[in-house]
């Protein structure tokens, strides 16, 4: 036990925690006042890091000017623009849409950054890089670290003063309490909301400038650092600023001290040998915090603009599938092997998308980490299908991914939709950083994966395999639709409409959600197996966290309530990959799906539904189009939409406002 070493780690942990605290407090401010959880918060910080680097290192601006431009100009402006252009359009939309739109911003920002600052892996100097370290309690601290801690303290005191001592700040707390009453007082909730987004994004920018120098400048890594901010904010239940600060510092300590502990405890260090567990520590922290949250209230019916799709009959789904397969067989004859391969991958991802139709479209739950389950499926395929392409591998993919899904869902289902989304994201990061990159999982050499061989008929050829993938997608779609029409499907729909009513009919809401989540993870596992076989080998990159996000986006854009979105999504991803290679734009899928999904704030049920509406309008009552959605059912807007966390709480009393 080396006291000095521990002290050193503690001090570094506090400095890191301070930076997370700044980011997390911005997240809390925007969430409480607008009811929109800004997944793009980290992306704003990431862009700020890069912009700051561009200004100081590349363009030679003075540091003070760059800081002002980035933190007081760029950040707040981005926040205000997002609020005005996007957030206002999200009133009354479903949780899925609310989540997806800011995810889209995040994905778009990553696509943007990788194109603007492509390949410029650079490091950002901290403040006063040449100054001597400060000594404190026999521990050396860089001046940059001291500045970070001072900034966090300033932000804490400043926010406290702003919220409790200024008129505008008090108005902000008033809007958190009740937007309706606030407007009856002559407060404009929109203006307050915009201000909160400007402040929140400004804090993200500050965090970006402070964190950038502590790490490598890398778009994805910086963006996903936001998971640390989520973890801290969840400690404050996304409401309490003091608890958020506590959470952030706790996380900083956790991240720095756990490796020390592991190193010094023999069996732990040997057990974790070979696992890159350190990048996943924030995810672990988030899991632990979620386990401690208790919130058993049931969600009541909340009017949304949700639309009801007529579910195709069994005959319709079989005929439709036959048509799709026949069409694929014909078209495949004219395509090059490279194109075929990209489409195979696209439709493999489409199967993962189908898992979201069940989970999100039918069940109303959102997962941001389906690729984590897909990777589990690919692993199963590798072990059970192997080089021979044994179809049992697909069953194994389902059978292994499903329980993993249940395991992930257990802590998150104790709470609510948004927490589930955060948990799945943390899970995917854990799988991405720690599991999939472990030698023994996708290995380096022993990774040869044969394509399916069904009753001795190999689907090794690219044409045959594309048809195989499409066929599996069709079969699973028929199955998902059959589920939807069954007793279980009705229970699921009832749960989505009103958990409260479902429970009073004798339905156990948690059991249903758990089963749904497991089924969905299983389907994603099959998708992962198909993706791996398309490449004739599984690789960690295929199942990275960042790959999970476009899947959700593309399916929601296509209309997450319809299985057709899995097809259109798979096709779109395939085509984007083909086009992206032609025009040489990296991460075209991120850019395009980002843009398309941001557009959801204008058409929240997905473009597929809009398209279906057009068709229905042209051919009004034809039976042939009966599979298209019926007429829209207008709904009243929710009266109080700012606090998604307390629908069933007694009116007028709320546990703690924004404090």
């Amino acid at each position: 036990m080396d006291v000095k070493e521990i002290l050193q780690l503690v001090v570094i942990g506090v400095a890191m925690g301070s930076a997370y605290a700044i980011a997390a407090s911005g997240l809390v401010v925007t969430y409480t006042t607008s009811g929109i959880f800004n997944f793009a918060h980290g992306a704003i910080g990431m862009l700020s890091s890069f912009l700051y680097w561009q200004l100081t290192v590349q363009d030679g601006w003075p540091v003070w000017l760059s800081v002002i431009v980035v933190v007081l100009g760029f950040g707040p402006a981005v926040g205000a623009i997002i609020e005005f252009g996007i957030v206002r359009g999200l009133r009354g939309s479903s949780l899925a849409t609310r989540i997806v739109v800011t995810i889209a911003l995040m994905v778009f920002a990553m696509g943007l950054a990788t194109n603007i600052w492509q390949g410029q892996s650079a490091s950002l100097p901290g403040f006063f890089p040449d100054a001597d370290p400060v000594r404190f309690l026999d521990v050396a601290l860089s001046v940059h670290q001291v500045i970070v801690i001072v900034c966090a303290l300033t932000v804490a005191v400043g926010l406290r003063f702003f919220l409790f001592r200024t008129r505008v700040g008090t108005a902000m707390r008033a809007v958190v309490d009740s937007p309706a009453t606030a407007s009856l007082n002559g407060i404009k909730p929109d203006v307050v909301s915009q201000l909160s987004w400007a402040i929140g994004a400004g804090l993200a920018a500050l965090a970006g400038v402070l964190i950038g120098p502590m790490l490598q400048l890398e778009a994805f890594a910086l963006t996903f650092l936001v998971i640390n901010a989520y973890a801290a904010a969840v400690v404050g239940r996304l409401r309490s600023l003091p608890m958020t600060f506590v959470g952030a510092v706790g996380l900083g300590l956790f991240i720095n001290l756990v490796p020390y502990v592991v190193e010094h405890i023999g069996f732990l260090s040997s057990a974790l040998d070979g696992w890159r567990y350190q990048p996943a520590l924030p995810a672990v922290f988030l899991f632990i915090v979620l386990m401690l949250i208790k919130d058993s209230s049931l969600r009541g019916a909340r009017p949304t603009r949700a639309r009801t799709m007529r579910v195709p009959t069994f005959t319709e789904s079989v005929l439709g599938s036959a048509g799709v397969i026949a069409f694929t067989i014909v078209v495949a004859q004219f395509l090059s092997n490279d194109t075929l391969n990209r489409l195979q991958l696209g439709f493999g991802v489409g199967v993962v998308g189908l898992s979201l139709v069940l989970l999100t479209g039918y069940g109303g739950q959102v997962s941001l980490g389906q690729m984590g389950f897909a990777g589990v499926g690919a692993f199963a395929m590798l072990k059970f299908g192997g080089a021979s392409g044994n179809p049992l591998g697909l069953l194994a993919a389902f059978a292994l991914a499903a329980p993993v899904g249940a395991l992930v869902a257990i802590p998150a289902l104790r709470v609510r939709g948004l927490y589930l989304a955060l948990t799945t994201m943390a899970f995917a990061q854990f799988m991405d950083e720690t599991v999939f990159r472990h030698e023994g999982v996708f290995g380096s050499t022993s990774n040869a994966l044969g394509r399916l061989s069904i009753f001795g008929v190999s689907t090794d050829g690219d044409k045959a395999y594309l048809v195989t993938v499409v066929t599996v997608l069709c079969l699973l779609s028929i199955g998902v639709l059959a589920l939807r029409r069954s007793r279980y499907g009705r229970v699921l729909t009832g749960m989505r409409d009103s958990e409260l009513a479902s429970a009073t009919l004798g339905i156990d809401p948690r059991a249903v959600k758990l089963v749904t989540f497991a089924l969905s993870a299983g389907i994603a596992g099959v998708g992962g197996a198909l993706m791996a076989m398309a490449n004739e080998g599984a690789a960690a990159e295929q199942f990275a966290l960042v790959q999970s996000l476009p899947v959700l986006l593309i399916v929601v854009v296509g209309g997450v309530g319809m299985v057709t979105s899995a097809f259109s999504g798979g096709l779109a991803l395939g085509l984007m990959s083909i086009v992206g290679k032609q025009v040489d734009i990296s991460n075209l899928d991120l850019l395009l799906t980002g843009v398309a999904a941001v557009g959801l704030s204008r058409s929240p049920e997905g473009w597929g539904v809009g398209l279906a509406d057009q068709v229905t309008r042209i051919v009004p009552t034809s039976r042939r189009f009966a599979f298209l959605p019926g007429r829209p059912a207008p709904q009243p807007e929710p009266v109080d939409e700012v606090t998604p966390a307390d629908v069933t709480r007694p009116s007028g009393v709320r546990a703690g406002g924004l404090v």
């Binding site: 008129r167 958190v176 009453t181 009856l184 007082n185 807007e637 007028g652 709320r654």
Partner: protein, 267 residues
Amino acid sequence: MSATDGAEPSVSSSNGQVPVDALAAAGLAEVEAHTPILELAAIRAAYGQIQVLHGVSLKVFRGETVVLLGANGAGKTTTISVMSGQMTPTAGDYLLAGRRVNGAAPDALARIGVCTIPEGRGVFPNLTVTENLLMASYGGTPAARIKDQAFELFPRLAERRNQAAGTMSGGEQQMLALARGLVTNPAILILDEISMGLAPIIVDELYSYVARIARSGVSIVIVEQFAHRALAIADRAYIMAHGSVTAEGDPADMEAVLQASYLGSGH
């Protein structure tokens, strides 16, 4: 989200409606005696496809106290929502001092002097008493005057000035809501079920304040379900049922009608 979404009740705060601005300049209280300060003419309103108001017409003149009665579900609160701007009528005219203000946002109406105290107290539970009062300054009233005036009128609030509103008793919360409404010097005060869930003795106290406000010349609209108190201080009464006004007249005449509709003719 625009305020012209038709059927959907809107909580938008897009304003800038010409009539509202003109009213703000002219001053709502300056209306001539024969023009109603507030008038609903054949107002219809709906939640989605469900029609709730089927042509409600009523008038409030300057300095008058009008009470709106009716059983649960009669449409009283929806009528209030139209008056406060929280809901845009699907048909009919909402007139303030003779000008049509359909679709004006609640915050815009609040700033020109339409003060609504919503059902369920309408205080901010996590803000202190003082902070709650200061929120009235968004209506344009200077902050310093607000506190003096409110604490003078309601000494009980002065004792609790630094307490979070949500921790006070129901009666005190209602008092706070009333105080906050008053200090803005509204032209029209709209009270939705202020006696709900309160002990009779507290209700008496609240209504004594309301009576004082009425004497000061403010036009008042009171919605109550159980309403002897309200009738006692009203100049006129409307009774609503099934989304329309079914009776209008002198408060004294309404008692018989009411007892029959609430408790049945048990006597």
